[in-house]
């Protein structure tokens, strides 16, 4: 009798384990188990079961955190291509294949030559990523892509065709400051300020613009970015979202976003309500779109119009540049597949191409898109 009782308890315990794993959210069987014929035709059952259990495991994120702590204790400092520093996550940007570098540089070169043929000067900068600047987060012996050398090589190949602006040095010189987000793969507003300083000096002749010209507004001090979401290591301080608002002269801005979903307009550079709806990073210019037009109602004495080809790093420095131009058209060629039929280079006084090294080395990015403006 006693033996039977023990047997029943053991069976109940054994059945409880899969029950806890399989049925925490309404059950596995109805949704995931295929018919017998499907099971015979493929490894459907084993694979599905593995995916389901791995996805729905009770206390998954906590257990993953423990696992990551164990790995870090064992020397691991990289997870899914992201370096895990003491208090920062840094994406490990890889060197491009030589043919991609060659194709991209040729596309930029062709574009610059075309622009010059219609009397427009192209300014060009490659913005380094955190893995080239935030040395402390990069583990010892890690084979990190030498972005400094890469940038110099690209500038060298494009010399004489456009004006290259060095944004590496200002970011590197100020690397002890908050240049890159700790949990997001992007440049902070502080980093954006230094990029802006380098750009404005060369493009506008503005030398060392002072912080004092801006009111600093802290939007959030508990922001966690995309790198944090993908990392099992959660022992990273949150980021601070900061707005630099030009305070010297009152200005009004109209920011218009155009992409395949339609048109959206904001009457500010910093639509703060985006934070309330959970799109924290969109507090800068309202986020990214294929085409963003920024019109300043009270520009400086100059009536300059700027055409910018850029990527998400523009969110950091564009609010600063907006103070100097009557109109800026920012084209994000990575965003959707727009034809930009109403964009003519002749309509702009200056053209700036500003890409992060990561965007620039992405396969088929710049060359496949920028050529649509040639011979228009």
């Amino acid at each position: 009798m006693q033996k039977n009782k023990r047997r029943v308890i053991l069976i109940a315990l054994l059945l409880a384990i899969p029950a806890v794993i399989l049925f925490p959210r309404g059950g596995f069987l109805s949704e995931h188990l295929p018919s017998a014929s499907q099971a015979i035709a493929s490894r459907y059952v084993a694979e599905n079961l593995q995916v389901y259990v791995a996805t729905n495991f009770p206390f998954k994120s906590k257990l993953q955190e423990i696992g990551m702590d164990l790995r870090i204790a064992g020397g691991k400092r990289e997870h899914n291509g992201t370096f895990i520093g003491e208090d920062v996550l840094v994406k490990n940007v890889q060197a491009p294949a030589p043919e991609i570098e060659e194709a991209n540089t040729k596309a930029v070169s062709d574009f610059a030559e075309y622009a010059r043929s219609i009397g427009r000067q192209v300014y060009f900068t490659l913005i380094p990523t955190a893995s080239a600047i935030t040395n402390t987060a990069v583990p010892s012996f890690a084979d990190v892509f030498n972005q400094r050398l890469f940038i110099e090589n690209v500038y060298g190949e494009l010399a004489g065709k456009l004006v290259a602006i060095d944004t590496y040095l200002p970011l590197y010189t100020n690397r002890d400051q908050y240049m890159f987000y700790r949990t997001e793969n992007n440049v902070t507003a502080y980093g954006g300020y230094h990029i802006y300083s380098a750009l404005s000096k060369r493009m506008l002749g503005v030398d060392n613009p002072s912080y004092n010209a801006f009111d600093i507004d802290y939007v959030r001090d508990d922001y966690y970015g995309d790198l944090y979401a993908g990392s099992p290591d959660k022992d990273i301080r949150p980021d601070v979202l900061i707005l630099f608002k030009y305070s010297r002269n009152p200005r009004e801005y109209i920011v218009t976003h155009r992409d395949y979903t339609g048109v959206k307009t904001y009457h500010t550079l910093f639509p703060r309500h985006m934070v309330d709806i959970g799109r924290d990073m969109d507090v800068y210019l309202g986020g990214l779109s294929a085409q963003t037009d920024i019109i300043s109602s009270s520009p400086n004495n100059r009536k300059l119009r700027l055409l910018l080809f850029g990527d998400k790093t523009a969110l950091s420095y564009l609010p600063f540049l907006a103070n100097h131009y009557q109109q800026i058209t920012f084209l994000d060629l990575f965003h959707g597949d727009m034809a930009f039929e109403n964009i003519y280079l002749e309509d702009y006084d200056q053209i700036l191409m500003a890409y992060s090294v990561e965007s620039y080395v992405a396969a088929g990015s710049v060359p496949s898109r920028v050529s649509i403006f040639n011979d228009r």
Partner: protein
């Protein structure tokens, strides 16, 4: 890693996956305890086939047909027990059929890149062994198809063994010994095996592949040494882990399976290495091939070819490749020299020196097994000894990064490959016999946490 690559690790390591540990294994054990003792063998046979269907559905028919043909051979031998010619024909048919399956699947793996079917080697060799044993009257004819199927297809051992004789298994099938102590020890052995295979072995094989993928300009003397050392550790942890998982599951359902690995890198000689590395496969080859070739004739010139055949078959266990045969040949030559040239010296040497000698021979042999061609093996050896070359650095950032990022894994895999854990376990068992089972349960919990957190 060709050896690892040809067997998809996901498939081989399925029994170490969370879905198996938390869903399939508890269900299987519950089922095993729900059914009465007389039906348990049947339940295990059916669940073994169902699990194979889940993991390797495209190989099920081949397995069932192969086992069925061996079973028919046994039935025919039983029916014509007085006809030696028919019995011999049955044995020849079984041996040829199984060798053809092994050869054809191996050939397809090597030439067409077809993934190796899980367990092909195990169920064919098991079927063949059973037929031979029954032919030799070492055990009675097995007329129960379910028992015969379970012997050939018992799922936990399909990944990497162990092989065992039919008569040993048959005795256990009559009365599988279920006890709470066996359950606890079984769980510990299973989880220890899972951690060894999935957490240590699979990660080491990842490191191995990373080093193998180094471009030529990133090669260094240290990377060449690490390639061989990591390969040696990876192959040991994956294979011994899988075997221990099989032993653990066996204990949980009442079967005691033989040990397949016993700290091979502590061997005192190459011959001793084969007593500790893939033990059951070596025993199988020794019993069915080496002894039949009159391996104990005692004359060196007679024994040499037999040892070579033995070594080459041990190499072919890992797949049909020239490298694998040369690996076996290389070790067979050392076995020959140990037996006939420097046996006396080896016996007189201190244990530590013997172990060092064996480790050097075995590690050097892995330069043959760890790469895809003999040309690569030669290049690998050349690189390992390029200490004074101007063109090859002693070390570089790439290999140092891998080592520094995985120092705990590398260190613990070296320590756990020794018998230190075993010594501690025996000491605890001797000094604290009453708490030993409780400690086993505690170790199981720690292993389960490790397996879960590092698998997710």
């Amino acid at each position: 890693m060709q050896i690892i690559n040809q067997l998809s690790l996901d498939t081989v390591l399925f029994p170490a996956s969370l879905s198996f540990v938390y869903v399939i294994l508890p269900l299987l054990l519950a089922l095993h305890h729900i059914f009465p003792a007389r039906l348990r063998v049947g339940v295990l046979a059916v669940t073994s086939l169902l699990l194979y269907l889940m993991i390797q559905p495209d190989g099920l028919i081949l397995m069932v047909v192969s086992v069925a043909l061996d079973y028919i051979a046994v039935r025919l031998m039983n029916r014509h027990d007085d006809r030696q010619d028919i019995k011999r024909l049955c044995v020849i048919f079984s041996v040829v059929k199984n060798l053809v399956i092994i050869a054809v699947t191996g050939f397809l793996v090597q030439t067409r890149g077809v993934p190796l079917m899980l367990g092909t080697l195990i169920y064919t060799l098991s079927g063949m062994d059973a037929v031979i044993q029954m032919y030799k009257k070492e055990c009675p004819y097995e007329l129960d198809a379910i028992k015969f199927t379970l012997y050939c297809c018992f799922f936990p051992r399909l990944s990497a063994g162990p092989l065992y004789s039919y008569k040993d298994f048959d005795a256990q099938m009559i009365n599988p010994s279920l006890s709470s102590t066996n359950l606890v020890y079984g769980v510990t052995a299973f989880l220890l095996g899972a951690v060894k295979a999935l957490i240590i072995g699979a990660q080491l094989s990842d490191l191995y592949l990373q080093i193998l993928d180094f471009p030529a300009e990133s090669a260094s003397v240290l990377s060449a040494w690490m390639l061989v050392i990591i390969f040696a550790l990876a192959i040991f942890y994956i294979m011994s882990g899988l075997s221990e998982m099989a032993q653990g599951i066996g204990l949980m359902v009442g079967f005691k399976l033989p040990q397949n690995f016993y700290f091979p890198y502590q061997s005192r000689s190459v011959a001793d290495f084969f007593e500790r590395f893939n033990i059951t496969a070596a025993a199988f080859i020794r019993k069915n091939v080496y002894k039949n070739l009159a391996g104990k004739a005692g004359k060196a010139y007679q024994d040499l070819p037999n040892l070579i055949v033995f070594g080459m078959l041990m190499g072919l266990w890992f797949g049909l490749r020239v490298n694998h045969m040369v690996w076996g040949l290389y070790l067979a030559l050392f076995m020959f020299m140990e037996k006939y040239l420097y046996n006396r010296i080896l016996v007189q040497l201190p244990t530590l020196m013997c172990r060092f000698y064996t480790l050097c021979v075995v590690l050097s042999s892995f330069t043959i097994l760890s790469v895809n061609s003999l040309a690569q093996s030669v290049a690998s050896v050349r690189l390992m000894f390029s200490f004074f070359s101007d063109s090859v650095p002693l070390y570089n950032n790439q290999i140092m990064y891998i080592m520094s990022s995985n120092w705990l894994l590398l260190l613990s895999s070296c320590v756990l490959a020794t018998n230190l854990g075993n010594v501690i376990s025996h000491w605890v068992r001797k000094t604290l016999p009453r708490t030993y089972t409780a400690l086993n349960a505690a170790v199981s919990v720690v292993l389960l946490v490790l397996l879960t957190t590092l698998s997710l």
